[in-house]
Every structure is written in C-alpha cells, then in structure tokens.
Amino acid sequence: MKNDWLVVFLLAGIIALYGCQPASQDTREVQKELKVAVAGPFTGNAAAFGEMIQRGTELKAKEINAAGGINGMKLTLIFEDDTGKGKEAINVATRIANNRQILAVVGHFNSTCSLAGKTIYQRTGIVALSPGSTNVSVCEGSDWAFRNLYRDDFQGKFIAKYIKNVLKELQSVAVLYDNDDYGKGLADAFTAEAEAIGLTLVASEAYDRDNTDFKAQLTSIKAKNPDGIFISGLYGQAGLIAKQAREAGITARFFGGDGIDSPDFLTIAGDAAEGTYLTTPFLFGAGGEEAGKVAEAFKADYGVAPDTWAALSYDAVGMIAESIENTYNESATFSENRKAIRDYLASLDTPGEGYKGITGLTYFDKNGDTVNKPAYVKIVENGAFTTAPLQMLSPE
C-alpha cells in the first residue's frame, strides 16, 4: 500500500530541516523569519493540486533561503488548508489575516476560495496572490487581490474558438459543469462564445462537486449525440465523467479547462482520457531554459515532474519574495509592511516592470488581473499529457 502523504510529510520535514541550516558558504547569520502563508486545497477533492502547490512553493522558498534569504532574513511558508471549499476558506482567511506575523498570502487556488477570502483580506489589508483562481471576479473590487494567470472569460472563449476554428470538424457540443464559481463561470464564458461563433450547444448539465455518479446527466447527453463534451470542472469529477461517458457508449471527444490539468485526471479516467483536449496557462515545454532548470530541481526533490500549478505557485512565491525584498522595513508596523507589498505589486503594471518568472512575464492591470499570458492546449496521448500539435496563440 503506497502511503503518499507519509512521503510528502517526510519530504516536507527533510526540506524544512534543510531550510533551517544556514547555507554553508554564506557567512551571514539568519536573523529573522519572514512569514508568508500558502493557502490551498491540501486535502479534499482538489488535493492533487494542493500537493503540487505545496511542492512548488517549497522549492522556491528553499532556493531563496539557500541563496541567503530575503535581505538576509529567512522566508518561512505557512501552509493553510482550505480543502477547496469556500466555507473552510473563510476560516483559513480569518486565521491568516489575524496572524500578525504573516506578510502576504500565496493563494487561494480554487476560485470559490479566493472569492470567499477576498473580503477578509481586503478588510484586513493583506495581499492574496492566487496561482490558480480563474473566475472572472476574483480580483474585482479588491485592491489586495492579484493573480498570475488568465481569467475564465479568456479561457472559455479560447476553448470555444479552438474547437470551431482550429479543430474545425466538430459541430455540436454539450457542456457539463461543476456547480461552483469556477465551473459555472467557465461554462458561461464558453457557452456565450460557442453560441456567438456558431457551435451548436445541445445540452448544458450541472453537477455537484461531491457527486461521483454522472450516469443520469450522461444518459441525457447521449440521446443528443454531441460531437464534443466540454467538462468545466476539476480533474476528479472530469475523470469520472470521461470514464462513465465511455461506459455509457458516448464517443464524443472531451474538452476541459485547466481544472482537469492534473496527472490524477489520467489515473481516474484511465483509457477514457485518451484524446481529451485541455487548456492550460503554462507548458514546461514552452517555458525557457530557466523553467527547465526548475523542472529538474523539482524532479530531484520530489521524484515527479512539476505541473502547471507547481510552476505558477513557484512564481507566485518569487513575486512575493521580490516585493518583500524591495519594501520590507523592520521598523515599520506589520500593516505598513503588508501595505508596502501591495503597493509594490500594484506598481508592476507595464511589461517593462513585470516580474520575469518561469511562467513568463507577469504584470497586473488595475484590478490585479494578469491579462497578457497566453493559453496553451494539451492533449492526452498514450496515457500522458502532450502538447497539442495545433496551438492557437493569438485567439483573435
């Protein structure tokens, strides 16, 4: 019996111990800890994402500390588990906001959680930089919310256009969406664009995150005989949907958003995953030399290849660390320091000032959204994700 969590804990422990040692070639004493919270779904239905987020952020923190920390101070990450559910995210956000040592938050991951935490972070005045929330309104109306990837209005449109303009042979699609902020928001964006560009939408069915039996919805969809099924949700349910759809005799091609971009989608769906197209905000293949190095270091530490979310989380920690490095003032109060981080991030509003990470250049618009980053298309082939032969880097 493989005990994955034990391995994770042991690795985390080893890294924590390693991180506590002052780098041998560095003579400066590590004086003080700088604490940054990482909020994500470390257990629950999105735990496979959480694992990658934890590893990606830990790797970056380890590298920062090995290089002497931030202005000689050690960066410590505090992991808070929101389980991917809004209710729990409120508790987590309150706990983080009230902890007067935490300077900033990397997270949350699920859009529902980012939306739930938004008002709390706004009220207290602490930055939340999300490496994964794509719902349109995640950053809207808050000066403290940022993200380093695209929004769902872009992603939904992108997938519809890809089906229509790049793949061309599909005429009709059905949509199955997770009834939460991410799934519904993405499905809405996809549906609006699909109808505008002339794809026939034959069915739109919702499902609940905790559900594992999709036969009822799939039997209805089967009767409509669509060419493609767009699954707007997370990998777990998407994997089961793909599997149960093939069992029900549905031969349509599957499409998914970045929510299914996890190796767990492949293990859950098995053979049914074959041929699935999905969008993702980042590809290691399309990343530069720097991304390759990080991927190697990640593999050396954890024994598996990093995914998109590890990369975006890695960059999010990098951005927060850069902000702290440029603004942290030991004699200032903690709320002044939190504010300074926000002001620094908000000032990164042109390509020239943007942060150069492994996932490309990140800079923000006035909401805190990242609007410049492209979407990539992956396809499942022989049980693995590969870059789709046809990309669509300029969707217009």
Partner: protein, 298 residues
C-alpha cells in the same frame, strides 16, 4: 425510449446501493433507536478494504468482496462494543453525538491511511464481465452493462436473504423481539447485547457490499460515505425508519427520484429533488411508507 430505459436502469442501480446502505441504518435504529451516523463510514471502509485486498494483497475480486464484508462486520461490532455499548443506558442524545464523533474519526482515519486521493479498482484486477464493453443490448438501442445487472441482482438477492433471515430464523426472531422491547426480550433470556452486535455485523456487511459496488462503478475516496450515507439515511426515513422492507423500497425510490430528477428536471438539484420527495412522503405519512405509527409500536 432507450434513454428512459437507461435512466431507469441507472436509478435502479443507485437505488439498490442506497437500499443496501439504508438497511444498516434502519436495523440499528429498529433495535436500539440509534441513528448510527458512522454507518456511512463503514460503507466507505468496505470499499477501501476490498481495494487494499485486491491491489495490495493481489487477491481475486471474488475473495476480496466477502473478506471485505467480514472485515466490515467486525468493524461494525467493534464500534458497537467500544462506543455504543457503554452508553446503552445513557440518554439517546449521548449515543447520537458519539456516532457523529465516530464518523469523523473514521473519515479522518481513512484520509490518514489512504490519503484524500481518489482510487478505483484497476480494471485488470476485475472479472472480465465487469468491464464496460460487456453489456446486454436492450431493444431500442439501450444497453445494460453486466456489472450494473450484477449490482441490481446482488442487491435483490441480499435483500430477500435478509428478509428471510429476519422472519424465518431464530436470530431473526430475537432481533424482532429486541426491537419490540429490549428489556422484555432480555427477561425472556435473549442475550440482547449479542443480538445487537449481530445486527451491527449484518448491517455493516451489507454496507460493505454497497461500498465495493460504488468503488466498481464510481470511485473510492474518504468522503464517499458522507454523500451516499446521507442519501441512504433519507431512504431509510422515507421507508419508515426501523422497518427493513421500508428501507429497501425507500432506497430504490430515492435512487430513481435522484436519477430521473437529474435526467429530466435539473441536474444541479438531483439530491434536492430526492429530498423533496422524502419530505412530501413524511408530511403525508409521518412514520414513512412502511413505518408503524408511534402508538402502535408502543
């Protein structure tokens, strides 16, 4: 027509699974008036036990299924022995809260042992006729996978066996006696604690079967017991809690309502539709479809 037929099959499979879980709730309630909230977790452990036996010990599925039933029966008795027996004379609320506690402990235990990751039986470990390609073609283009047929038949066979066990055997008679009046049964020389333990064992073993079936058809995860458990509990209440026949029909009804509701009304409200039906039945018949009214029972 084919679509309707397939939806009915979907509903029957789900209903059969709910019925298997619901009898566990209803038998325990019938005998000690306890809503055993940990029952959903026993169901979940049933799935994990079979999964571990198949993947970890390389046992064939046909060995893993009865072994998992046996392990769950023992787990059910153990829970009764540790948590509920000391509270037999305590107010009912104490046992109820204990049940919720046990449920949380078991769910988190499963998460610690097997992680929150979703698991499913590797297809090579299963008998060939369970694979999805193998299905019976029905008139009108509908298909009935052998696996789903197996689940329905197994549920029916187990239900009939249970019914016969309760009405034709000595232990069944002892159970019915305990359900009517535990003190009087004890005075008549029935070892009530033993009968209660056997009740837990039977309910848990049936729950384990349901767990394995869900593992076959859907997925195994630590939270699976909650979602299915709540629906099965609703089925038990709909049928009249404490009544085994009621739990069987309640399970089938909730399963059909959920699937037909999701297929024809709105998939976002699938459980809501099932619950609305349950509430309507309870409003009209407060003791459930097959339940005796309180005055008659006393």
């Amino acid at each position: 027509m084919a679509q309707f037929l397939e939806q009915i099959i979907n509903g029957l499979v789900l209903g059969g699974i709910y019925a298997l879980i619901a009898v566990g709730y209803t038998m325990v309630y019938g005998i000690i008036q306890l809503i055993n909230f940990a029952h959903g977790e026993i169901f979940m452990f049933g799935a994990y036990f079979a999964f571990v036996l198949v993947t970890g010990f390389n046992l064939p599925f046909w060995v893993a299924l009865p072994l998992s039933m046996l392990l769950c029966a023992m787990l059910g008795m153990l829970i009764d022995f540790i948590a509920y027996r000391p509270l037999r004379a305590a107010p009912r609320l104490s046992a109820l809260i204990t049940a919720i506690g046990i449920s949380l402990v078991l769910q988190n235990l499963a998460r610690m042992i097997w992680s929150a990751r979703q698991r499913s039986f590797p297809s090579e470990s299963l008998p060939a006729f369970f694979l999805s390609e193998n299905a019976i073609a029905l008139p009108g283009g509908a298909t009935l996978p052998y696996r789903d047929l197996f689940i329905i038949l197994l549920a029916v066979v187990l239900m009939i066996t249970l019914n016969r066990l309760i009405y034709l055997t000595t232990i069944g008679k002892a159970m019915r006696a305990c359900a009517q009046n535990r003190v009087a049964a004890n005075l008549m020389g029935i070892k009530t604690n033993q009968v209660i333990a056997i009740t837990f064992a039977i309910g848990s073993a049936l729950g384990a079967v349901a767990g394995v079936m869900v593992g076959l058809r859907e997925v195994i995860e630590p939270t699976m017991g909650y979602y299915k458990g709540v629906a099965a509990f609703a089925a038990a209440v709909l049928g009249g809690i404490g009544n085994v026949t009621g739990a069987m029909f309640g399970g089938i009804l909730i399963g059909l309502a959920e699937v037909l509701g999701a297929g024809y009304i709105s998939s976002g409200y699938r459980l809501a539709i099932a619950y609305i039906i349950m509430i309507l039945v309870i409003l009209i018949r407060p003791s459930g479809l097959f339940g005796k009214s309180e005055s008659k029972r006393a």
